[in-house]
């Protein structure tokens, strides 16, 4: 399925931020914005919700901690108890380093995997991009053109008035 997009190309992130606000105020729905680097304040301008990743990270950490403590207590305390250096079987202070390391390990990998899933990132031999310059120095605002309802001429004017240096049309196959 192919979709048509109007791409407003901006040269500066501050101009883009104002344009986002104005375009949204004009009642146009922005499909997505592609930028070469993260822009502070763009979340609010676009209405992107706050990420729940930190909460996920906390629970991954908790999983790691519980797993590490369970593993050490079960292995050395119950499955094969041994007295080592006169320490008790369940010597919690000695278990802290491994518990800490596994907390970090689980948090990090859990976070990374979640991040890849939610942003649909995976190795792909051919990547379709809206505008190749959006990973270099251009800021690209994509607006989906719906047949019949969207007026490209009006949209172009709106983007140009808000500082877009060029407005292009692009067809993308939905993947």
């Amino acid at each position: 399925m192919t979709k048509r997009f109007a791409l407003g190309v901006f040269d500066d992130e501050d101009v883009l931020l104002h344009a986002i606000e104005n375009v949204r105020a004009a009642g146009v729905k922005i499909y997505d914005v592609f930028t070469p680097f993260p822009i502070h304040g763009i979340d609010d301008a676009l209405g992107i919700e706050r990420s729940r990743l930190p909460i996920a990270a906390f629970f991954y950490g908790l999983c790691g901690l519980s797993f590490a403590l369970w593993m050490q207590i079960y292995m050395l305390g119950f499955d094969w108890p041994m007295i080592i250096g006169g320490k008790p079987h369940i010597s919690l202070p000695a278990f802290i380093p491994v518990a800490f390391e596994l907390t970090v390990l689980f948090t990090c990998h859990g976070m990374a995997i979640t991040f890849f899933i939610i942003t649909s990132m995976y190795p792909k031999p051919k990547v379709q991009v809206m505008d190749v310059r959006s990973t270099d120095d251009k800021f690209v605002m994509a607006i989906e053109l719906k047949d019949g309802t969207s007026n490209l001429g009006q949209l172009t004017q709106l983007l140009r008035d808000n500082g877009a240096s060029e407005v292009n049309e692009k067809e993308m196959t939905k993947n």
Partner: protein
């Protein structure tokens, strides 16, 4: 549109635009390898050959190939292990701790520093694994049931904590580094001409498109990874120090070890970052990104951590005297005046005295001086680990077993070989990966000056050329940068 800060010094010089950054960083990746890179790689590969040969000898004939004896059972191997792990720490320090502390200047050096971490940890991991004598059974260190029953690994042992610490550190650093690389791989992908490069960088960039939501999530991930990496760095070298500190060997049995080792790690790590950065910026013509200011800042961190290490040396001596334990006292007197006095005093000279030169502004901003200093510190920190390990072991409680250690040719081969391994990896990284984090440097570009005045140091009479009117900064605002150091 340019933004000029009247108070902040520029982080990137040379009046760059976003496109210039892409060009400057991608140039190296896209161009054919130059002769200097080829020559450097050839030298590195030669030493990698030395490494492979020495490892082959160690594995084929056993640990007897090394100079170890019944008294000094740990020598160069563990010295090198601790040295390499320490070097690795600066990378995470720069990428994680300085990110948390909002130190914007880290942006142009973090990528290479993280790469250094990864490669240094790889080199470090070689030593404990080889020291096992039977590395094909290295999996025994993991909590797996053994063949005789359900006997598990000993979680009370600092050596096992090390296994968890180093492997966690390695994998977390790798993930952190890779996630940081993804947007830059996307940049290279979108510029790539050749079909192989196109596919390779497409795969590496993991379908990254730079959409606003992805960036937002990306920043959250980076921040949390930095948050968990910061205590991780501290824990790793703390645990490495516990390999010694939890024992009863005089000279090792010290509560000061964890913070002292961490400071030492940062110290040697920053020295290595400086060594690499000074070479990289010249070879790849990145002087506008890795500026003298960066070098001075890194120098300062090196000096501070060096001073902490110096205080630790003195504290150790004081505590040995104050403890009234004669074995402890002897261990320290023996370090300074015994048969290994030359190692001890090399360490003192390299780590405590020379870094104090950084107090002098001229030294801090001098490239040749910094380069020499960073090499001296690396040597000194190697001696530090050697002194701690060998001098403590060679004479302990039982005078009848006192012995001396001298390295065998294979010992030297493995050590020099890992330097070859490190540089081989680093050179390949520098050729095929962007050495500077383009996306991040672009975010700090507006802290800098374009077409306008460039930083001129202590020149009160310097009048800046007029710059473009920018929102927030009156066109008449004087733009001079005064040093505050």
């Amino acid at each position: 549109m340019q933004h000029v800060s009247p108070v902040r010094e520029p982080l990137v010089t040379g009046g760059k635009t976003y496109h210039d950054i892409t060009q400057d960083v991608c140039r190296q990746v896209e161009a054919k390898p130059n002769i200097r890179w080829m020559a450097a790689l050839a030298v590195a590969l030669f030493f990698l050959g030395v490494f492979i040969y020495s490892v082959y000898r160690t594995l084929w004939y056993g640990i007897g190939e090394w100079g170890l004896n019944k008294t000094v059972g740990w020598a160069w191997d563990i010295t090198n292990f601790v040295w390499w792990v320490g070097i690795g720490h600066a990378g995470t320090l720069i990428s994680a701790v300085l990110l948390l502390f909002r130190q914007k200047w880290r942006s142009s050096i973090n990528r290479a520093a993280e790469a250094m971490t990864i490669f240094a940890v790889i080199c470090a991991a070689m030593f404990p694994v080889l020291h096992m004598g039977r590395p094909w059974q290295a999996y025994w260190v993991f909590p797996l049931q053994n063949t005789f029953g359900s006997l598990w690994a000993n979680f009370n042992s600092p050596l096992l904590w090390d296994v968890f610490a180093i492997s966690t550190y390695f994998s977390v650093s790798l993930v952190f580094w890779y996630i940081g690389l993804i947007p830059d791989f996307a940049t290279i992908r979108d510029r790539a001409k050749g079909p192989i490069a196109k596919v390779a960088y497409s795969m590496l960039s993991m379908n990254w498109k730079g959409s606003a939501k992805a960036w937002s999530r990306y920043e959250t991930v980076s921040l949390i990874l930095a948050g968990v990496s910061t205590p991780l760095v501290l824990s790793v070298h703390t645990i490495v120090s516990m390999d010694f500190a939890t024992s009863v060997v005089p000279g090792w049995h010290t509560t000061i070890f964890p913070p002292y080792f961490v400071a030492g790690a940062i110290f040697s790590g920053f020295a290595m970052v400086l060594t690499l950065m000074l070479i990289t910026r010249v070879v790849f013509k990145l002087e506008d990104y890795i500026t003298l200011e960066h070098i001075a800042l890194m120098n300062k961190i090196m000096m501070i951590t060096g001073s902490i290490v110096g205080v630790a040396y003195i504290t150790e001596f004081f505590i040995a005297w104050y403890s009234q334990v004669e074995f402890e006292q002897y261990a320290f007197i023996n370090r300074a005046t015994g048969p290994y006095w030359w190692a001890y005093w090399s360490m003192m000279t390299c780590n405590v005295i020379t870094p104090q030169l950084v107090w002098i502004r001229k030294v801090r901003y001098s490239i040749p001086m910094t380069f020499v200093l960073s090499i001296i510190v690396n040597i000194g920190m190697w001696f530090e680990r050697f002194v701690i390990i060998v001098t403590s072991l060679h004479r302990d409680y039982l005078p009848s077993s006192w012995a001396m250690f001298s390295p065998s040719i294979i010992d030297i081969g493995v050590y020099v070989g890992t330097i070859g391994l490190f540089f081989t990896l680093f050179l390949l990284f520098a050729k095929f990966f962007p050495v500077i984090n383009m996306a991040e440097v672009k975010t700090i570009l507006k802290y800098t000056v374009d077409n306008g005045p460039t930083y001129t140091g202590h020149d009160p009479h310097h009048t800046p050329t007029p710059h473009h009117a920018t929102p927030g900064v009156p066109a008449s605002a004087p733009v001079t940068y005064t040093k505050h150091d």
